[in-house]
C-alpha cells in the first residue's frame, strides 16, 4: 500500500468517525429509553435494584439482539440451509437479510436524490411528496400504455414515467427558487402536503376504474419461497455509480457542487446558478420518483405508501450520515434497511414499541447534524481545518 493510498484510507476512516460515533450514541440513547420505559422492571427498583437493573439491561440485550437477528438472520442457519440445497430452507434462512435488501433499494434512491440537491446547496425536504407523485406517475404510465406493449417494455416505460413525475414535482420548487427566490424548505414542505391529496383527487376522479390489473412487476432476483428482493436493488447500485460519476467526474456535477459551495462565486465564474438550481431539484426529484416507481412496481405491489413512516426525514438523516457521498448512501441505506427490518422483529420478539426505531434514527440524525456535540460527548479533538469539507466541498 503506497503512502498516498494509506493517506486516503486514513482520510476515509477519519471521515467515518463522527457518523459512526453518532450511531453508537443513538443506540446508547435508545438503550436508556428501553430501560426507562420498562415499568415492569423499574417498579422493583426499590426492593431489588440489582435484579431490576439486570432485567432491564437484559431487555436491552434481548431487544437489540432481536433487532440484529431480524435484520441479518442466523448465519449458522444460512450456511446450513445453503449446504442442504433445499429451496424452502434457504428461503426461510435468508428471508431476514433479503427483507433488509428489499427496503435498502428505496433508501438508496431517495438518499441519492437528497444527496444531489444538498450538493447543489438545496435543502430538499420534499422527498415524501416526490415519492407519492413518482408512484402516481408510474401507475398512470403503466395503465395508459399497458396491454399494448410487451410487459418488459411497459415496465421500463412505467419506471421512466415515475422518474419523470418525480422530476417534475422536484422541478417546481427549483423553478420557484430560481425565479422568485422562494425558499425550497418552505415550498417542498408545502408540496408534501399537496401530493398525497393530489393523488386522491386523481384516483377519485375514476379514471383508473375498470383498468386491468396487468401491471408488470420488477422481476425477482431469487426464485425462493418468501424471498422478495428484486432487480430494483441492482438498478439502485448502478444508479449510485452513475450519480457518483456525474457529481464528481463531469462538468455538470462540478457546476452543481460549485453552486452549492458558493452561489455568488459560481455566478462570478460565469455559471448559470438559476439553471443549476432547477436542474438539481429536478434530478433530485427524479431519483426519488424512480425509487418510488421501483417500490410500487416491486414489493409494494401498487399498494402505495412508502417503505417507512416519515421517509423524507429518515432519508435526510441517511444522506447526512452518509456525508452526501453516493458510496456512503449505499452503505447507510443498507444500514437503515437493516435497522428498519430488524426493528419489526424486535417488536414481535420483545414487544418494545416500534416508536423506538424512529427515536434512534432521530437521535442519529441529531448527533450527525451537530458534530461538535458528538465530538464533545466522546471527547474527540476538534477537526483539523485542512480536511476537506465533507458536505459541500469538492
Amino acid at each position: 500500500m503506497g503512502s498516498s493510498e494509506l493517506r486516503r484510507f486514513g482520510e476515509l476512516l477519519r471521515r467515518g468517525v463522527v457518523p459512526a460515533l453518532a450511531l453508537i450514541t443513538a443506540f446508547l440513547a435508545g438503550a436508556i429509553l428501553i430501560v426507562l420505559t420498562d415499568f415492569d422492571n423499574l417498579q422493583h427498583l426499590g426492593s431489588d435494584p440489582v435484579g431490576a437493573l439486570g432485567a432491564a439491561v437484559g431487555r436491552v440485550v434481548e431487544g437489540y439482539g432481536a433487532l440484529f437477528s431480524g435484520a441479518i438472520g442466523d448465519p449458522g442457519k444460512i450456511v446450513a440451509a445453503i449446504q442442504s440445497g433445499d429451496a424452502d430452507h434457504i428461503g426461510a434462512a435468508i428471508r431476514p437479510i433479503s427483507e433488509t435488501l428489499l427496503i435498502t433499494t428505496p433508501f438508496i434512491f431517495v438518499g441519492l436524490g437528497l444527496t444531489v440537491s444538498f450538493r447543489a446547496g438545496l435543502i430538499n425536504l420534499g422527498a415524501d411528496g416526490q415519492f407519492a407523485i413518482g408512484a402516481l406517475g408510474a401507475g398512470i404510465t403503466a395503465i395508459v400504455i399497458g396491454g399494448n406493449l410487451p410487459p418488459v417494455l411497459v415496465l421500463v416505460i412505467a419506471l421512466a414515467g415515475g422518474a419523470l413525475a418525480g422530476a417534475a414535482y422536484g422541478y417546481v420548487p427549483g423553478l420557484l427558487k430560481a425565479r422568485t427566490g422562494a425558499h425550497e424548505v418552505i415550498t417542498t414542505l408545502m408540496l408534501n402536503v399537496i401530493a398525497p391529496n393530489l393523488v386522491i383527487l386523481i384516483v377519485r376522479s375514476g379514471i383508473f376504474d375498470g383498468s386491468g390489473s396487468a401491471i408488470p412487476k420488477v422481476p425477482l432476483i431469487f426464485d425462493l419461497p418468501t424471498v422478495r428482493v428484486d432487480y430494483g436493488l441492482v438498478a439502485a447500485l448502478v444508479v449510485a455509480v452513475a450519480v457518483s460519476y456525474v457529481l464528481f467526474r463531469t462538468t455538470l456535477g462540478f457546476e452543481l457542487r460549485a453552486v452549492g459551495f458558493s452561489p455568488s462565486a459560481a455566478r462570478g465564474a460565469g455559471m448559470r446558478t438559476g439553471a443549476a438550481t432547477m436542474l438539481a431539484m429536478a434530478l433530485s426529484g427524479g431519483l426519488v420518483g424512480l425509487g418510488s416507481a421501483f417500490f410500487q412496481l416491486g414489493p409494494a405491489s401498487g399498494l402505495g405508501g412508502a417503505p417507512t413512516a416519515n421517509m423524507g426525514y429518515v432519508a435526510l438523516a441517511l444522506a447526512l450520515i452518509a456525508g452526501l457521498r453516493p458510496s456512503g448512501v449505499v452503505l447507510m441505506a443498507l444500514f437503515f434497511g437493516a435497522l428498519n427490518t430488524g426493528a419489526k422483529n424486535m417488536v414481535i420478539a420483545t414487544g418494545i414499541p416500534l416508536a423506538l426505531l424512529v427515536v434512534i434514527i432521530g437521535f442519529a440524525m441529531l448527533f450527525v447534524a451537530a458534530p461538535s456535540l458528538t465530538r464533545k460527548i466522546w471527547r474527540l479533538p476538534p477537526p483539523t481545518m485542512t480536511a476537506k469539507d465533507p458536505s459541500f466541498g469538492t
Binding site: 391529496n197 384516483v203 383508473f208 414489493p299 402505495g304 414481535i348 420478539a349 414499541p353
Partner: protein, 396 residues
Amino acid sequence: MTISRRLLGLGASAALIFAACSSGAPTTAPGTGGTATSGPTTAPGTAGPTGKAKIVACVAFDTGGLGDKGFNDLAKKGLEDAKAAGYTTFFSEAQGATDYTNNIQTLIDKGCQAIVTVGFLQSKATADAAKANPKIAFAQVDTAWNACGPDFTCGNADDTPQPANFTGLDYQVDQAAMLAGYLAAGWTKSGKVGTYGGLAFPGVTRFMDGLYAGIQYHNQQKGTTVKLLGWDGSLKDPSTSGTFVGGSGGNDTWVNPTKGEELAKTFLDQGVDIVHPVAGGTGNGSIKAMSEAGKWAIGVDTDQYLSIGPPTNKAILTSAQKAIDVSVLDFFNQANTGYLGGKDYSGTIANNGVLLSPFHDYDTQLSAELKAELADLKSALGLGTVKVCTFLGRGC
C-alpha cells in the same frame, strides 16, 4: 385488487384514515357471509384441542395503529385478554407498505397458529399469507369476504372463494344502533334526532339504518312521533337524500371536526337535540358542538365517552359499539379448538359482538322503564323476533 383501490392506497395518510375509521371500511351488507359463527368445522387443526397447551395467538397491527383508542387498541385488548387466558401471544407493528407481508411471515416463523390482521391495507398480504399457509387460521378485523375476494369489490379478477383458513370479522352494528335509536327516541325532548355519515359506504349506512329502525320501533311501541333527520330509512335507497360529509374519502371526510361542528349546528337549527355522527374524527366536532349547546350525541364504533374524555363527553348518551376485542378473543378460542376459517364471523347482539355502551353520566337519569324496554329490545334482537330490516324501506 382493482386499480382504483390500489392507487387509493398511494395517498398513504388518507388511506390509513380510511382504514382506521370503521366507517370507511368497505364492509358490505350482510347476506352471503353466514350469520353467527359456527363452531369448529373441519380439520383436526394444528394444536391439540384440549389440555393446557393453547395455540400461539397473534395480531398484526397497521401503521401507526396502536394508541388509536379505537380499532387497533380494541384488537390489542383482545390479544391481552387472550394472553391472560393462557395463550402465548405475539404482535407486530407496521411502518411501511412492505411491512405487512414481512410481519405476517415473521409471526408465522415465530410459530403463530392464529393470526388476526388489522387494517384495510393489509388485505392483500393477509389473503396471500392465508393461501400460502393453509394450516394457520387467519382473520381480519372489519372485513367480510362475501365472495368478492380480498378487495371486497365484486365483479373483478380476485372474486375467489373464501379460503378455508380465513375468517372475516364482521359486525352487525345496525343491531346496536337500533338500540341507540330506541334510546334516542325515548330521550329526545324536541322529538328530532339527526344523523349523518362520512360517505355512503355500507359500513356507514348500517349505523344509520339501525338508528332509523330504533326510532321507528319506539314510535310504533310508544305512539311517539320522533323524526330522524339526515337518513330516511323508509326509502328504497336513502343514500341519495341522506346527509353525508362527502369529500375525497381522505382526511377531509373522516378527520374534519370543523365540518362536523357545522353539520351539528345545522341540525340544532332544525330543532334536533340528539346527533349520531358516523364519520370518524369528523363526528368529534359534532359531539363538541352538541356538548356546548347542552344537547346530546350518540357515539360510534367504540365507547366514545371513554375515548373522547371530559368535558366534551358529557354530551354522549351512549355509543353503538363494535366489540372487536371480544371477537378477536372469540376467534382465538375457536382456533384453539381446531377451527381454521372458511366463514366470516358476524358480531351480533346475541354473541356480544356488537353492543350498546354503558350510559355513564346518564345512567341515573334514564328511567327504569326505558332501561327495561331497552333490555327487552336487546333480547328480542338477539332472538331475532325484532329485526332492523323490517323497519326499512328496502325490506329484508
